[in-house]
Amino acid sequence: MSALIHTLLPMLFTGLRLTILIAILGIVFAFVIGSISGYALQSKSRIARAIAFIYIWLIRGTPLVVQALYIYYVLPLIVPFLELSSTTAGIVVISINSGAFIAEIIRGALQGVDAGQKETGASLGMTNFQVLIHLVIPPAFRAVIPALFNQFIIALKDTSLLTVIVVNEMTQMAMSYSSLNFRYIEAYTALAVFYLVLISVLVVIQKFVERKLGVNSPAKPKIANLRVKLPIDN
């Protein structure tokens, strides 16, 4: 019991910091990469579509573990200055891997916005960019929340696969601990509980965002009620 409290938990908390760091940065970059490539996938530019397609094809077509090994071990051999620390490599892997899946989610949501909305914007004299910002992204964003959080959860759990490039995140720490003293039950049970708590936090955030945006009630987004009442003349 004292080994648990004095050795395992401090180790897991050290790993937790790295897990959270990689997951948060990974998710943020993945969202940016995914939004850009998702937009590219449904854009009119053939070149943009081709680039996005090849990126997604490569990433979805290979396992995350292989991508991690490749970026950490192979890339520095090809391009000498790309020698990344294992943590940086981990963030890069999570970002580009999750980004590819998010791209498909974003593309679907953008294409799912009723063409009539875009036409109406155009008929009012809006530019394509104004239509995108004011008429396409708001409904697309709402539609994308459940799938997006699903991907965030996957990205968070995928950080455990970074043990293959020895990133000292939680799973690596639990493995180190148990390999020293063979206390598998407590090490991996505690590890599972840590992940469960982390994921639960994400789920709570998802519910909060969905409630704010009124994702579950199409007719009445709560956000509309957040509008500051302004005096209206006449």
Binding site: T120, L124, T127, P138, A219, K220, R227, I232
Partner: protein, 249 residues
């Protein structure tokens, strides 16, 4: 006859052609849209009425022909189509209200982001337009809570907030329950009385007869009659139009 800068026509349409795959939807359509006139476009479904209307603000790009607006061909690459669209309002069959924005914000949006109007000013303008269509009390509702007729009146107010010089109506009452049609038609009648230049694709024969200055009858991608309403309804020139009128009345 109304005139702007010596022109009596808002748009002159010459030899417009458009196909979808092998289907010829517009076949050499030529006409002109005169300032201050209400033109109703009638005809069987598939006649090309909506496509014709959508070409006028270039939501569809015709394959050939020209549309001249005050001396400039709107179909050329360099033509500033957005400034034309600011002057040409459009009302769609499916209303196309922005579902996440309140009624007020639906109406305010284009004046604010296209015309760069200050928000308080746009809000006043939007409220005035909503009052005209009788929906000022719905300003803070979301479109999902409105009836079809109310939605379409909001859509009209949204177009009018841009102070258009020409209004295009693409079957504005076709998606409405019958008892809601008259609310929308009343708003359109008032607009016509106020002197708005309007092109209305519709199946509402009563409205066309009462309000239109001119009927364009289309079939198979062509305008086959261009008449005053009483001529069209009482004495159609072609057999095709005669059959259509008999069936619709």
């Amino acid at each position: 006859m109304n005139e702007v800068g010596g022109e009596t026509a808002f748009l002159k349409v010459n030899n417009l052609c458009k196909s979808f795959d092998s289907l010829k939807v517009l076949d050499n359509v030529s006409t002109e849209i005169r300032i201050g006139e209400v033109t109703c476009v009638l005809g069987p479904s598939g006649a090309g009425k909506s496509t014709f209307l959508r070409c006028l603000n270039r939501l569809e790009m015709p394959e050939s022909g020209e549309i001249i607006c005050f001396g400039k061909n709107t179909l050329t690459h360099g033509y500033d189509i957005r400034s034309l669209r600011e002057d040409v309002g459009m009302v769609f069959q499916q209303f196309n209200l922005f579902p996440l924005k309140t009624v007020l914000n639906n109406v305010m949006l284009a004046p604010v982001i296209v015309k760069k109007m200050k928000k308080p000013e746009a809000r006043q303008l939007a409220m005035r337009e909503l009052e005209k269509v009788g929906l000022a009390e719905k300003a803070h509702s979301l479109p999902g809570t409105l009836s079809g007729g109310q939605k379409q009146r909001v859509a009209i107010a949204r177009s009018l907030a841009m102070k258009p010089k020409l209004m295009l109506f693409d079957e504005p009452t076709s998606a409405l329950d019958p008892e809601l049609v008259s609310d929308v038609l009343d708003v359109m009648k008032q607009l016509a009385r106020d002197g708005m230049t309007m092109i209305v694709v519709t199946h509402e024969m009563g409205f066309a007869r009462e309000v239109a200055d001119r009927i364009l009858f289309m079939a198979d991608g062509k305008i086959i009659e261009d008449d005053a309403p009483d001529v069209f309804f009482d004495n159609p020139r072609t057999e095709r139009a005669r059959a259509f009128v008999e069936k619709m009345l």
